[in-house]
Symmetry: C2
Subunit: 236 residues, 2 copies
């Protein structure tokens, strides 16, 4: 797809992320332990399922052709942040076990506790089990890659996809994913974070504006694809 | 800037590119020898001047801050096509000398002869002299980098900037630059070439549509930059 999926609507979540940096803090109510980490090739099956769900959500399954093999052969070819990069969002009802393998030089996983008023039922928990942390499941992802501003003379990040599974929406997790990308951009000295949104998706636009984004009204995307692109095979 | 500069308008050039593959062919009229090659760090001064001209053209000089140092420290960090990549357009009244240094494994320079009805005067020839090929000058550039479609499960190219200096417009050179990117995308098995255009630039839109592009009406660009981005430094 060409764009970030609509995020959770901007209505304040009843239990927004607490911002607690330490998962050992005592949670109250129904805690949802959440973690953002870099995806690896082992995550491809879950990523492929998430993308498929996004296509369904956007009623664009006729444009969805990506197989696990397609993804595995085109992602993870460069160090994180230098090319296509995926942050995976995992959630669990229990604290995540410390996993030193996840602490790469480039990125330390981000953990937050979200205190829910009610316990949460995930009808697809078995499908999205992460296989590492007991009951932890994959709840969403963001795919982004460097872009470049010649006016600034520096790179930025372009967010291609932002997706949170339905039962985990409206809990601040979409904001957490997008904030993780923005924070990484600042750390790297980058100048911008950009993505696209559908003009009729007023909830998403309001949400993004509240996050500090400007929506540029005049620019339109041009795309050459399919047979029209194929026609350039011997054009030059 | 966020987008490809408007290309030459779609009115047919009186002397379109001949498509002659061999610069030794006998030209007629006033031949303009043109060449597209990969830019190198040595081209940064000319690239910086071209970007500045683009900012003037777009009346956006207040957004232009890129110095030669900015560009030199952020470009040419990866092999061509894997990250930010620049095709440089050079023109000359004489055939280009064969330069084996320019034939990298990744890209063979593209040469075309454009037959003009009248000789062409370049008031900035001294400024944009390339220093290699006698009277050859730098006439334009295109900056592009890989993007990714999760629906296709494959990369594409995003064209950030396309610029041809004023005295060389309406001769098919913008089309030649964009075609070079599209052709490269096909060669690499990529699925799309994308860029953005201002919605009021009807000439550019018509030109792009004639090149096979679709303009997507509903998507809008969102951007976090400046202090709004800086606010994410410690947000996560």
């Amino acid at each position: 797809m060409a764009a970030a999926a609509p995020p959770p609507p901007p209505t304040p979540a009843p239990s927004a992320p607490t911002g607690l940096p330490d998962s050992d803090s005592t949670p109250v109510g129904h805690p949802l332990f959440s973690r953002i980490r870099l995806a690896t090739p082992l995550d491809v099956p879950n990523i492929q399922k998430l993308i498929h769900q996004m296509a369904i959500f956007e009623k664009l399954t006729h444009l969805f052709t990506a197989t696990e093999s397609d993804l595995a052969s085109t992602l993870f070819k460069s160090p994180p942040f230098h090319s296509f990069t995926i942050f995976l969002l995992e959630v669990s009802s229990r604290p995540f076990e410390k996993d030193s393998n996840l602490h790469s030089q480039n990125f330390t996983p981000i953990e937050r506790i979200i205190n829910l008023d009610h316990s949460l039922s995930d009808p697809e928990a078995e499908t999205f089990r992460n296989g590492i942390n007991g009951d932890a499941v994959v709840a969403g992802f963001v795919l982004f890659f460097p872009n470049y501003s010649t006016f600034l003379g520096k790179p930025g990040f372009y967010v291609e996809d932002l997706f949170v599974r339905e039962c985990y929406r409206r809990k601040g997790l979409g904001k957490m994913l997008l904030s993780a990308v923005a924070s990484q951009a600042v750390k790297m000295g980058y100048g911008r974070v950009e993505w696209v949104v559908l003009d009729w998706n007023v909830n998403a636009i309001k949400f993004y504006e509240e996050m500090g984004a400007n929506v540029l009204p005049e620019w339109r995307i041009c795309r050459i694809t399919g047979p029209a692109l194929e026609a350039y095979r011997d054009a030059i």
